[in-house]
C-alpha cells in the first residue's frame, strides 16, 4: 500500500494519536463536577493563542456565535481553524485572528460570497489548505475514532486534493486508489446545543451536523447551551446524550447563543441583522465598525442580547416552527 501521491499543503496539525491519548488520560476527568462558567472564563481558560480550533454547526444555524464573539472580544490570535463556516469563522478572520485555515467553504449561502475571506486570501496573508465538506467532517471523525487517518473516495483527481495535505494510496484489499485523510484532533472545539446539564451532558434537537465528531475530536471542549437542564432529565433519556460530560471542559448558559443565526425549534434567524453584517463586510472599514459595535463595545453575551433588543428576540422566537 504505497503512497502514490501527496497533497502539497502543509499539514497544519499532524495526527498525534499517542500524545492525544496521553492528554485524554491526564486532562479529562470522569468526575461529575459542575462546569458552568461565563463565556469570558471558558474562552480565557480553554482557548489559547496559536490554537487549532473548530466550530460547529455554522454561522446561520445552531452555531456557538456567542463563544465565537467572545474569542474576538478577547482577541486570541494566530489561530488555526478547521473552516466550514459562515459568520463564526468570518468574524475571526475579520478580526485578524486567523493565520491558517483548513478550508472547505466560507461564504454566506444565499447572501453570496464572503468578502472577508476574499480580502484575507487575496492579500496572501491567510494560509489556506483546501478540503471538501465531507473531508473536514471525516478528518474529525478519524480523530474521534482515535486513528491517524480515514480512507475516503472524495477529492481524488482534483486540485482540491493537490492543495490539501491528504495522500492517495492503493488499497491493499481491492487494489483501487483511495484517499487518506489525516485525523484532526483539535486543540479546542466549541459547540452550541439545545440543552446541557451542569456536567456537560448535551442534547441536540434535529440534525446533529458534525457535533458528534467535533466533540470527540477536541482536546478541550466548550459547550454553550440554550438551556441548562437537570441531570435527572439527562438520565431519563440517555440515548439523547450526543456529547457525554467526560468530553466537556466548560458549560456556558447562552440563550440565543446562535443569534443572528437560528436555533431549530427554539428561534428563527434574524434576517435583518444578517443583512447588516453582510453589508458591513463588503468593506474593511465597515467590517471593523460592525465588530466594534457588536463585539468589542459589548462586554458580554447578556449585553449583546440587550443591544439586539428583547423585542427582536421575541419576534425570532415567535417565528420558529415546532415539530
Amino acid at each position: 500500500m504505497e503512497v502514490l501521491e501527496s497533497g502539497k499543503g502543509e499539514l497544519f496539525l499532524p495526527p498525534r494519536m499517542n500524545e492525544d491519548r496521553q492528554w485524554m488520560r491526564e486532562k479529562k476527568s470522569w468526575a461529575l463536577e459542575p462546569k458552568i462558567m461565563s463565556e469570558h472564563e471558558a474562552v480565557k481558560k480553554f482557548i489559547h493563542e496559536g490554537d487549532y480550533i473548530g466550530t460547529e454547526l455554522y454561522g446561520f444555524v445552531r452555531c456557538p456565535m456567542s463563544l465565537a464573539r467572545e474569542i474576538v472580544r478577547q482577541k486570541i490570535g494566530h489561530l488555526q481553524v478547521a473552516g466550514q463556516g459562515i459568520m463564526e469563522v468570518d468574524v475571526l478572520i475579520a478580526a485578524g485572528l486567523v493565520d491558517k485555515i483548513d478550508l472547505t467553504y466560507l461564504g454566506y449561502e444565499v447572501y453570496g460570497l464572503s468578502n472577508v475571506l476574499r480580502r484575507a486570501a487575496q492579500s496572501g496573508k491567510l494560509k489556506i489548505n483546501e478540503w471538501s465538506n465531507a473531508a473536514l467532517a471525516w478528518r474529525l471523525k478519524a480523530a474521534a475514532l482515535g486513528v491517524p487517518f480515514l480512507p475516503v473516495r472524495v477529492m481524488l483527481g482534483t486540485d482540491t486534493f493537490t492543495y490539501s495535505a491528504a495522500k492517495v494510496v492503493k488499497c491493499p484489499f481491492t487494489g483501487e486508489k483511495v484517499m487518506l485523510l489525516p485525523a484532526t484532533m483539535l486543540d479546542a472545539g466549541i459547540i452550541h446545543v439545545h440543552r446541557a446539564d451542569q456536567y456537560g451532558n448535551c442534547q441536540i434537537d434535529g440534525i446533529s451536523g458534525f457535533a458528534f465528531e467535533l466533540a470527540r475530536a477536541s482536546r478541550r471542549l466548550i459547550i454553550s447551551a440554550e438551556e441548562i437542564i437537570s441531570t435527572e432529565e439527562i438520565r431519563k433519556y440517555p440515548e439523547r446524550t450526543i456529547i457525554p460530560w467526560y468530553l466537556v471542559d466548560a458549560v456556558v448558559e447562552a440563550p440565543f447563543g446562535s443569534h443572528p443565526g437560528e436555533m431549530p425549534y427554539y428561534y428563527w434567524r434574524d434576517e435583518e441583522h444578517l443583512s447588516w453584517y453582510v453589508t458591513a463586510s463588503k468593506e474593511e472599514e465597515t467590517t471593523q465598525e460592525y465588530l466594534q459595535k457588536w463585539i468589542w463595545d459589548v462586554p458580554s453575551h447578556e449585553e449583546y442580547l440587550e443591544l439586539v433588543g428583547k423585542e427582536t428576540l421575541d419576534i425570532m422566537k415567535s417565528k420558529v416552527k415546532g415539530r
Binding site: 471538501s132 434535529g206 416552527k321
Partner: protein
Amino acid sequence: MEYNQRELLICIASRQMEDRTSAFIGTGIPMLAASLAQKIHAPNLICVFEFGGTGARLEELPLGVGGSRSFYKALAASSICDVMEAAQRGLIMYGFVGGAQIDPYGNLNSTIIGDHDKPKVRFPGSGGANDIGSLVWRTIAIMPHDSRHFVEKVDFITTPGYLAGPGAREEAGLPPGTGPYRVVTDLALLGFDESTKRMTLLALNPGVTVEKVKENTGFELIIPSDVGQNEPPTDQELQILRKEIDPTNLYI
C-alpha cells in the same frame, strides 16, 4: 404564460430527475427544481441536505443546507457524515453543482482565479461540491452561459467532472459510473458525449440559436445533428412554482 430566465432554468433542471431516487440539494434553484419535480413527475424523489435533513416537508423554502426547514417534519435528521456516507455507498442519484468556471469535461472551479496562494479572486471553496461531484451517480450543473464561465481549462479543479477525459475518473480512484450528467444554462441543456466525455449540446432554450450557444462557450462544444428544443415552462409548471413552491418570490 410569460416566464423569466430563472423559472426556465428551474423547469429544465426539474425535468432531468427521475422518480424513486434521491437528490443532494443545495439552496436556491436546485431546491426549487427538486420540489417542482416532486409535484409534477417524481413524487418519490427525495431531497437530501448535506447536514443531515432527509425527506423534509418543504413547505417553506430552506434558506440554507443546515437550517431547520431542511429537516422540517423530515423522515430523518442525521448528520453530515451519515448523508455523505450514504452518497459514498452509492445511494444518492442526483446532486447539483455550480461554480465560476466549467470546462469541456464538466470540471468545475469554485475556489480561485489565479495563483492558489495569492489568488486574483478567491471564491468560497468546495463546500459539498467536491463530495457531490465525486460520489453521486449524476451531477447536474447549473451555470450562467458565457465564455467567462465556459472555459477551455479551469484555473482550479474544485469538483471533478470527467477530469482529463474517458477513464480518467476511474484512474483517479473515483467510483465508476459516476460523473457529470447535465449542464443547465440560460441558453441550453447540455450533456456529455458517451465516448469522449466532452460536453455536448442537447437542446436549445426557446429563442436561442446554435450559433449563440457556440459564441458563448469558450471551448469547442460537440454539436450533434439532432439538437433538440427545450419546451418553455408549461402553465402547470409555472403555476405550481409560483403558487405552491415560492409564493413569496424568494427565488423566482
